[in-house]
């Protein structure tokens, strides 16, 4: 039976993601695990994430999951969410600079701090709440989701992919940043589909059906 593996490297709350995937997976199983062998048996993998990038990379390495991700990224449909998207780039500026998995060329950079101009209506960091995602190119992950749909974001850093061809969606927050990237069998999103109501559930359902081959 088809199984979706959620890579559990011990940071953050996988409860809602697991429940959301179970809801859309139909007959498919959802496995939450840190065991590389068990995860390699899964047909699809999800790399979630909250927290800081240094701790995330450290835990992935300690649990020998970084190799698993890189290996699985060669052929299995793979979904990155939030920090799970950010660690797919080569480098993150967070925590003083941390090398990451390098599945996409480019880096992760911070939103500039709001100016100390005493105005109450400045752009705050973290970028927290509902924002729109412009679909920069068609993709099976967008099926059934209108362009400029609202998704829920919580983050202070964002991906800056080096290759514009990898950008799948973009969002405005002071400037335009890449809120979704994809290549081959990998798709990754800065927002939280599991917190983004109907459109988020559609996106997760699309992932369970996605056949990149």
């Amino acid at each position: 039976m088809a199984a979706i593996g959620i890579i559990d490297y011990g940071m953050g709350n996988l409860h809602s993601l697991g429940k959301a995937l179970e809801r859309v997976a139909g007959a498919g199983r959802v496995v939450i695990s840190y065991d590389p062998e068990e995860l390699l048996k899964c047909d699809r993998l999800v790399l979630p994430g909250v927290g800081g990038v240094r701790e995330c990379m450290k835990e992935l390495q300690r649990l020998e999951l970084n190799q698993l991700v890189i290996e699985a990224a060669r052929n299995k449909p793979m979904l990155g969410i939030c920090l799970g998207m950010q660690v797919m780039l080569e480098w993150s500026d967070e925590n003083g600079g941390v090398p990451a998995l390098g599945l996409f060329p480019g880096r992760v950079t911070r939103f500039p701090d709001p100016p100390e101009d005493g105005s109450a209506n400045r752009l705050k960091v973290p970028h927290m709440g509902w924002n729109r995602v412009r679909q920069t190119r068609p993709h099976p992950m967008w099926q059934g989701i209108p362009d400029d749909a609202w998704f829920y974001f919580v983050h202070s850093y964002h991906a800056a992919p080096a290759d514009p061809a990898h950008v799948l969606g973009s969002t405005e927050y002071g400037y335009t940043f890449a809120s979704a990237v994809a290549r081959d069998n990998i798709a990754a999103f800065q927002f939280h589909p599991e917190k983004s109501q109907n459109h988020g559930m559609t996106l997760l359902a699309n992932f369970t059906q996605w056949d990149p081959a």
Binding site: S16, G118, A120, H127, M128, G129, Y152, E194, S196, Q197
Partner: protein, 256 residues
Amino acid sequence: MLAKRIIPCLDIDRGRVVKGVKFEDVQDAGDPVEVARKYDLQGADELVFLDITASVDDRPTLFQTVEAVARQIYIPLTVGGGVRNCADVRALLSAGADKVSINTAAVDNPDFVTEAGERYGVQCIVVAIDAKRVSKKNQPPRWEVFTHGGRKSAGLDAIEWARTIVQRGAGELLVTSIDRDGTKGGYDLELLNAISAAVSVPVIASGGVGNLEHLYDGLTQGGADAVLAASIFHQGTYTVGEAKQFLAGRGVLVRT
């Protein structure tokens, strides 16, 4: 661009939604899952659950409630009330809360906020500030922080405290005016504006909403990023959808 958020707040007592005026005349207002689903369908951007259960023995009931809601509602859920240490934070997050709101414990021990932020990410640490105006008329405005449900002064300037606790790791502030809470006279806009200007993280306005104009004022003059309201939604005066329609008509960006 980022939408302004509308957040219904639900008081939870022993696994039920209750409503009352200032903790008096508390009435049963339904099953948390049903009420949460109703607001979700109306277009609520997030939900806040405030546990007002007096007894710690009833804590497991709260976890069951959070779990039941998180299983069905796919928008962010914040849970507050009695969050005292990292074990509480962890238990609530594992039950399915996306954020926890910390109030008295942040004042008693700011290190707790730092520790929780480092461990679980600052994005899930909301600090609730209950502020009361202490300046006299014709004086420059000044507010103090109160704890224990607004009964005890912490002896802290609210604006200074907001700055401090954000430096200590709060990812968002829930600012309630004790003077306005329950009055339906509108938010304390000066307080909101002063705190919003002092910190770099999002501010949620709370306390005093009586009509939709008040929501608009909080988001514009108050500079808040989100507005929290309880009674106008619970009493059915307005739906969340009506609130959004009103705000959109006044040029505020909301998720539709």
